[in-house]
């Protein structure tokens, strides 16, 4: 899985940070998304998909790179 974020689209709602703080953060200056782990471990991938579904602005994407999930 490859996690990417588009800060131009992000509105800083923070749903991703609440869902997977291991993968997403917000910077202090703009409050927008930062991907701190673009290649999350297998155990986090369901949470990442949940974060993508909960993102109100569509700013984050999880690209399936077809690795096994566990």
């Amino acid at each position: 899985m490859r996690v990417i974020a588009d800060r131009d689209i992000c509105i800083g709602a923070g749903n991703c940070v609440l869902t997977v703080p291991e993968v997403f953060d917000q910077d202090d200056d703009e409050g927008l998304v930062e991907v701190i782990d673009p290649d999350p471990a297998a155990g986090l991938r369901d949470k990442v998909r949940e974060a993508v579904a909960r993102c109100p602005s569509g700013a984050i994407k999880a690209i399936d790179t077809s690795e096994p999930d566990d």
Binding site: A13, L18, P21, D28, D29, E30, G31, R54, P56
Partner: protein, 404 residues
């Protein structure tokens, strides 16, 4: 059901659940005609009932406008210029703007509401919650949970955050509730908007002269050159209302819901570690904001087979979307341990609630603290006697007399 007579079906609750009409809409008429209440005036609008369609509309800022002027144009077209002139205007603020103005303003406030920054408020919110629960215990039973706990607690939190004097709370609570009251005559609502605006304009002048150590002060220090007094005033007015009315009503109605589901109440009281998911489920289940801001279609569009013309008014039913059985399993079951859903109780798209991380934190702290402080909490009046406020932008119970 007497209370519901004049209430458009999409705003009726019984008292926690949306009425069957909305389930029927999802099944048979996912885009239907409904009445948007603006005071005594009813304006025809499209009602979007299904989860996926609601997300699509709210997520499409290029296709649907939040502009209050666009709504005014629409009202002028369907009800005449004279009626449109009388519509109460709050000044647009964040939720009444489209990009790029919206983007510019939201970018200024977004860093003030990050998850990290909200978490730093946790000890203070815990203290505020504890103080209010102590005061409630000391004053003794019975108490109106709304007046004794939910409203003062959420008001104090937003006052400290924004830089609004807490001593002014009686007046701003009254005005806030009037601003959201869709049952109020147009002049009454306009008066509430005007008074709120004048009050906040005064505070903004104070922060311009000597910026405080709070959000208003920070906006003046960091963006003072880019923000007009009018913009600052509108923004702060919105944040003050949105900051206390929503949380307070969610807390009171959520407590009532839990009192009616003692097994679920016990789960949350006995294991505060489930609070985060529990709050999401309570938010989903109650969806206290009926539709949010009425949108205006910016171009002709077809949704679920129904043609919507450019200029038409569109409402998205949040309670309906959050009970959509095609997305959420057993949506009418309250299950605090449910795997978190991508509910739309905070809205969706670029206008998604700015204060969501704050609301979540306050509720996550307040519900378990209340239930643990008063393990014997129960209604002080028969359930059937409670009265609600369906004709408000934010649904809620009018008062919640409790004893313990």
């Amino acid at each position: 059901m007497d209370q519901l007579r004049s209430v458009p079906p999409h705003m009726r609750r019984t008292p926690f659940d949306p009425v069957d009409d909305l389930a029927r809409c999802r099944a048979e008429a996912p885009v239907s005609r409904a009445a948007a209440p603006l005071g005594p005036l009813r304006v025809p609008a499209w009602l979007i009932a299904r989860y996926q369609d609601v997300r699509a509309v709210l997520g499409d800022a290029a296709g649907f406008s939040n502009s209050s002027e666009a709504v005014r144009d629409y009202v002028a077209a369907v009800a005449g210029e004279e009626t449109a002139e009388r519509l109460p205007l709050s000044g647009p603020s964040l939720i009444g703007y489209d990009p790029p103005v919206h983007t510019r303003l939201r970018r200024m406030v977004a860093p003030r509401f990050t998850v990290k920054r909200m978490r730093s408020l946790q000890p203070r919110i815990e203290a505020i919650v504890a103080e209010h629960l102590d005061a409630m215990a000391e004053a003794g039973a019975p108490a109106d949970l709304l007046e004794a706990f939910a409203l003062p607690m959420s008001s104090l939190v937003i006052c400290e955050l924004l830089g609004v004097p807490y001593d002014d709370r009686a007046a701003f609570q009254r005005r806030g509730s009037a601003q959201l009251d869709l049952d109020l005559d147009l002049a009454g609502r306009q008066a509430a908007f005007d008074e709120s605006h004048a009050y906040m304009a005064d505070l903004v002048r104070g922060h311009r002269a000597g910026p405080g150590d709070n959000l208003l002060g920070a906006l003046v220090r960091e963006h003072g050159d880019e923000l007009s007094d009018e913009e600052l005033t509108e923004l702060a007015t919105l944040l003050l209302v949105a900051g206390h009315e929503t949380t307070a009503n969610m807390l009171a109605l959520g407590t009532l819901l839990l009192l009616r589901h003692p097994d679920q109440l016990a789960l949350l009281r006995d294991d505060p570690s489930i609070a985060e998911g529990a709050v999401e489920e309570l938010m989903r289940y109650l969806s206290i904001v009926h539709t949010g801001v009425v949108r205006t279609a910016l171009r002709d569009v077809t949704i679920a087979g129904t043609r919507i013309k450019a200029g038409d008014a569109v409402m998205c039913s949040l309670p309906s979307a959050n009970r959509d059985e095609s997305v959420i399993a057993d949506p009418d079951v309250l299950d605090l341990t449910r795997k978190p859903t991508a509910h739309v109780a905070f809205g969706h798209g670029i206008h998604h609630c700015l204060g969501a991380p704050l609301a979540r934190l306050e509720l996550r702290i307040a519900f378990p603290a209340l239930l643990r402080r008063f393990p014997g909490l129960r209604l002080a009046v028969p359930f059937e006697e409670l009265r609600y406020r369906p004709l408000s932008v934010v649904y809620g119970v009018r008062s919640l007399p409790v004893t313990w």
